[in-house]
Amino acid sequence: MNRVVITGAGTINPLGADVSATFAAMREGRCGIGPLEIEDVDRLSIQIGGQVKDYDETTQFNRQQIALYDRFTQFTLLAAREAIGQSGLTFSGDLADQSGVVLGTSGGGLNTQDENYRAVYEAGKNRVHPFIVPKLMNNAAASHVSMEWNLRGPSFTVATACASSNHAMGQAFNMVRCGMAKVMVTGGSEAMLCFGGIKAWEGLRVMSRDACRPFSATRNGMVQGEGAGVFVFEDYAYAKARGAEILCEVAGFAMSSDASDIVMPSKQGAARAIAGALKDGKIAKEEVGYINAHGTGTAANDKTECAAVADVFGAHADQLMISSTKSMHGHLIGGTGAVELLACIMALRDGVIAPTIGYEEPDPECALDVVPNVARDANVDVTLSNAFAFGGLNAVIALRKHARPAGH
């Protein structure tokens, strides 16, 4: 089995248009959630979100590209550009055939669907632009990444709601680990902050009208965000041979299904995925210093997640840190695991633990060290990133610090 390392990271999300801006915001505990600026927002009962602001697609892409790139694809391509650029890889010949892209998204081109349903139903138009289908399809982002960087190996899109990115990265990890691919571009993207996207979520009555406050006794729901995170997962031997800078090692991954309820989370299902990732990576519980929680800020998720962590880690649960960066960037649904993996990388590389902001009052059912409100310096060797989706589909990924050789 091959070891797998991360050699590139990229993002655009409500906290920043690249990785360094995102790290800075996470260190400062800055909130990227604010009033939504979208059409018909006055008809929504939920009017806040983690929007990517000051974004002008025409400065990034030409008209032909915009005709084919939904917002979720645009975010993906920008994040991929940063990640692949950092890796220093170019794909040609055998390497191109042995490299692919697997991405997560839940809504795909939801803005495109929303705009065009609006055109035909509300405006009564009888004709839509010819590229609506290739623009809205969930695999559009993965396909455009493969086209842009000549990734000709295994490529596809994973949709498991809020766990999509983690499931995608788990596939990428295992594909490199087993030798199916040498390099996998992976992560996820979401852009569903449009009238229809928010309206549908309102229906579930799980959304907060004012803030995302994970683990706080005063929490009152989740807040949606948008953006993308993309990483380069690479065969360690290959990365080492070419002298690539290694950000960290992908140590383990596991997934599980609650097989119980379409929306209510299960402690057992979450615990099996967490324990599974440790077992897969041959990681001792005591090695885990930080967990980036799923931490949606709903009553049900946060207490269930804390109970699962307590069950798996026993006494060590009180030693480790667990925070939810959704308090800052919101819930990026299918892209959330990818952006949250950045917090894990920051913990391993920079020794900074991103906080759970908006924390007001302890909840006895979430009695863990949730790194309230202020980032913390800490030296950690192993981090976990949790994702527990609607539909009971859980995916947990473990990263390990990569010891830089002496003299480097």
Binding site: A67, R127, H129, P130, F131
Partner: protein, 86 residues
Amino acid sequence: MSIKDQVIAIIADQAMLDPSDIALDNTLEDIGIDSLGLVESIFAIEETFDINVPFNANDPTAGDFDISSIAAIIAAVEKLKLEQAT
């Protein structure tokens, strides 16, 4: 603007050329319009002239809408407008 000038403007826009660079005997291929560019052009023609263009991307040369040259496309649009008027 005449139908001819409007069609040329649409096609030039799609090809990212100046209208003066489009010759009537050009084919779409000559000016770099691929299959996606063609369906976008037809969409723009339908929107501009409020007509329905009988075009099937499975077999672009079938049907009454002749796309063999810029002149042919202009003639086809003029014919559709005339039919619409009568």
